[in-house]
């Protein structure tokens, strides 16, 4: 399951980040790392942009990035 498959309000644990560098490092810097809990807060009307929360930080992502984060409920 990926972040883009989650529903608003869902929480999950990050399993793997498959994005390419340098985005992967940027996601890590935001706390999007294996083992951390991620919560889907919101997305825009057409699900192009997503807002997630990881350990207290809110992060906006695009579709591509949301797809690159594998999670497990």
């Amino acid at each position: 399951m990926r972040v883009s498959d989650m529903k608003i309000g869902d929480e999950a644990v990050i399993k793997k980040v498959t994005a390419e560098e340098p985005i992967r490092s940027r996601l890590y810097a935001m706390g999007i790392t294996r083992g951390n809990r991620i919560k889907l807060l919101d997305h825009t009307l057409k699900k192009q942009t997503w807002e997630v929360e990881i350990e207290g930080t809110r992060v906006a992502l695009r579709d591509e990035e949301a797809k690159s984060i594998e999670v497990e409920k």
């Binding site: 992967r24 890590y28 706390g31 009307l45 942009t49």
Partner: protein
């Protein structure tokens, strides 16, 4: 007196600037880092026989630098000389901030940790055990709230304390297997005579394992590199196999994250409850209502900018012209008098006049930024702008562009990605700035029926914006292949802005703006004045003086004076230049007068109106003058008028804006492209319009 040099680093939005502002008795210097346009703030404090010099580095999320500002910070951290690092973190998101802190600790430099915004954690009923945190990290920890001025006074004391202490327990131990590899590699690195310090060897080794290109470059030229490179590859392979990962970078990210998590669990108590941010966000970034609310905010900002901003405009204009008149009276008559009172002062005045608009716009943008709403606006608009190869944050400079292109270029700094920033800046000129309005008003009044004037004006603005989006798309496809860079952005919590910080930001922006406009506009004004005043044709003046003397009525006198002014201008260098470039504009139906007006519009768009007025021999005139409009109708046909409007819409913005672009973009290739392409595009579009209209029988 002993000197201590400290650098202040931290992730974005942790409140570093507020801390700098809150440190009392500090003298603040603002400039740019050498060679880049990233703002550099520096404060000096004197305390117990010590002079403390603190450099505030731009926010950085990680030593894997990504944005231009992060590269500045990283370069400073790696290459400059300093004694102590002041690492500021946000107490609300301690875990994420500690990941970066752990990266810094690898450097094993003297460091203090400032845990800011502790008041917000305590309000929610949480707490942080500073003593424990200090023990775990091996560095001094201060809990602060810049807003309440709490703990900030301790920073200088701790700074001196750690400077004087000789010990540093700050060393992070990773997994045994990782430590083994670090040990192997740093032993090799220490064989090099260039690296004597085992601390640096350890730090470089860790960075190399994390594929840090900047450190790679440092090591690359050392003779030891060959041996090291081979061992490094082997170490990486072993670690990848051992931990079943694709990349050693992941390993360090996971190690640091686990460490940060366990530290937070040991030192922090935080009961979770729905924060104010959650409640506000439910409304402000609502999938359906978010966009209309955002548009309302933008509309309100524009109304404020132009409604309130225009109030002092006339007053400033009056003051400037009174000043020029007064100076004209007391300075001895002659060229110097003329260049100052006719050339420099009105030109600089014309720029100062826009200062209120610019300040209000900046205040609005700063408010959006400080409250945390800006990120939400970018979030809402990203999907739409992505279609044109831009990203959400580009909206802010684009909107500012309707006011004035100069601050818009500066606002483009909020775009962190260099490519996105460049594309946005390259199309900002198509957002019609307020200086172009007088030209449009004049030509619409002259060539369109009154009842459709408003619609035509609206069409011009909309067409400009649409053209900008289309060009952005083309630039993205042709010059920067592929999609816009990915968009990963922190959404900071909503905060009440600090008045002091707002005022400080505004003051810095004002100072920079006046300095730039003052020096630059004064310079161009002198050049334009010179070109339009020389060479002086004494014979012509003599003939006209005689004619004026014998003039029967005041009316005739004015007419002759205007004729003289027009003839002088025609003979001036500017006039000669206009004739020389006439062939370029001839296919658009322009005469030499329109050509000169177009060129002079590069100095400032308003100048187009005054130049045309002078050249068509009507003397002092504004866009509402009916004789002037009559003259325009007689001399310019409809097709050429449309061509001129198109030129004004598209071609290069004023020199002030262009110089701002040059200051923000250091690459000559881009500067050259920026200088040429809008003018070529403007010409082609005007040419097409002119010919289509003539085929259509206008």
């Amino acid at each position: 007196m002993k000197k201590i040099k400290a650098v202040m680093v931290g992730q974005p939005n942790v409140g570093k600037s507020s801390i700098i502002n809150a440190i009392s008795n500090a003298r603040l210097h603002v400039g740019n880092f050498a060679g880049v346009t990233v703002e550099k703030k520096e404060v000096e404090i004197t305390k117990n026989e010590y002079e403390l010099d603190i450099v505030d580095l731009p926010g950085i999320y990680s030593l894997h630098a990504y944005t231009p500002e992060e590269h500045v910070t990283k370069k400073y951290l790696l290459q400059e000389e300093y004694d102590v690092i002041i690492n500021v973190v946000d107490a609300n998101v301690l875990q994420r901030n500690l990941i970066f802190t752990l990266q810094l600790l690898d450097m094993q430099k003297k460091m203090i940790l400032v845990v800011n915004m502790i008041d917000e954690v305590e309000e929610k009923g949480g707490s942080i055990d500073a003593q424990k945190l200090s023990e775990l990290l091996g560095i001094p920890v201060i809990l602060t709230s810049a807003k309440q001025k709490r703990g900030v006074e301790e920073i200088p004391d701790k700074l001196i304390e750690i400077y004087e202490s000789t010990r540093c327990d700050c060393k992070i131990y990773y997994n045994e297997k990782i430590e083994e590899e670090i040990e192997k590699l740093s032993t090799i690195l220490l064989k090099s005579p260039h690296i004597q310090d085992s601390k640096i060897a350890r730090f470089y080794t860790i960075r190399l394992l994390e594929k840090d290109e900047d450190v790679y470059k440092i090591i690359h030229d050392l003779p030891i590199f060959l041996e090291l490179h081979e061992a490094l590859g082997e170490s990486m392979k072993r670690l990848e196999l051992e931990f079943d990962i694709d990349d050693v970078r992941d390993l360090f990210a996971q190690e640091r994250n686990a460490l940060a998590k366990s530290i937070v669990m040991q030192v922090m108590q935080l009961p979770r409850k729905e924060s104010l941010t959650d409640k506000i966000d439910k409304i402000l970034i609502h999938p359906i209502f978010g966009l209309p609310i955002f548009l309302f905010f933008m509309w309100a900002l524009f109304q404020l900018t132009f409604e309130i901003g225009s109030i002092p405009m006339d007053y400033i204009d009056q003051t400037v012209s009174n000043f020029a008149d007064w100076l004209k009276g007391i300075l001895p008559p002659g060229d110097l008098n003329s260049v100052i009172t006719d050339g420099v002062i009105p030109a600089v005045g014309a720029i100062i006049m826009f200062l209120p608009n610019i300040l209000i716009l900046f205040l609005g943008i700063n408010l959006l930024e400080q409250t945390g709403y800006m990120s939400r606006a970018a979030f809402l608009l990203d999907g739409f702008l992505k279609k044109f190869g831009l990203q959400g944050k580009a909206f802010i400079p684009l909107v500012s562009g309707f006011g004035c292109t100069v601050p818009a270029y500066m606002a483009a700094r909020t775009l962190k990605n260099p490519k996105d920033r460049l594309i946005t800046m390259l199309i900002l000129g198509f957002m019609n700035c307020s200086a172009r309005l007088p030209v449009y008003v004049l030509f619409i009044a002259a060539f369109f029926p009154t009842h459709s004037a408003g619609n035509v004006l609206f069409a011009i603005y909309i067409l400009g914006a649409i053209l900008g989006l289309i060009v952005a798309k083309i630039l993205r496809i042709v010059l920067f292949k592929g999609e816009p860079e990915p968009f990963v952005m922190e959404m900071p919590p909503y905060r009440f802005p600090s008045l002091k910080a707002l005022a400080m930001e505004l003051w810095i922006k004002t100072k920079l703006f006046i300095k730039k406009a003052g020096t630059f506009i004064a310079g161009t004004a002198m050049i334009i004045w010179f070109l339009s005043s020389y060479p002086v044709d004494q014979k012509l003046i003599h003939i006209y003086e005689q004619k004026i003397e014998f003039a029967k009525s005041e009316q005739e006198k004015t007419k002759l004076q205007n004729e003289l002014a027009a003839k002088s201008l025609e003979n001036s260098y500017l006039g000669q230049f206009g004739k020389a470039i006439e062939p370029i504009f001839a296919p658009l139906g322009f005469d030499w007068r329109m050509s000169v007006a177009t060129i002079s519009g590069l100095a400032a768009k308003e100048v187009v109106v005054s130049t045309l007025a002078t050249l068509y021999a009507v003397g002092e005139a504004d866009e509402n003058n009916s004789t002037f409009i009559q003259k325009l109708r007689e001399n310019i046909d409809f097709k050429a008028a449309i061509a001129l409007i198109i030129i004004i819409m598209i071609y290069s913005p004023c020199v002030a804006a262009m110089s701002t672009f040059y200051a923000e973009v250091p690459q000559w290739a881009w500067r050259t492209f920026y200088t040429i392409y809008p003018n070529v595009l403007a010409w082609i579009m005007a040419f097409l319009a002119y010919n289509i209209l003539s085929v259509a029988g206008f």
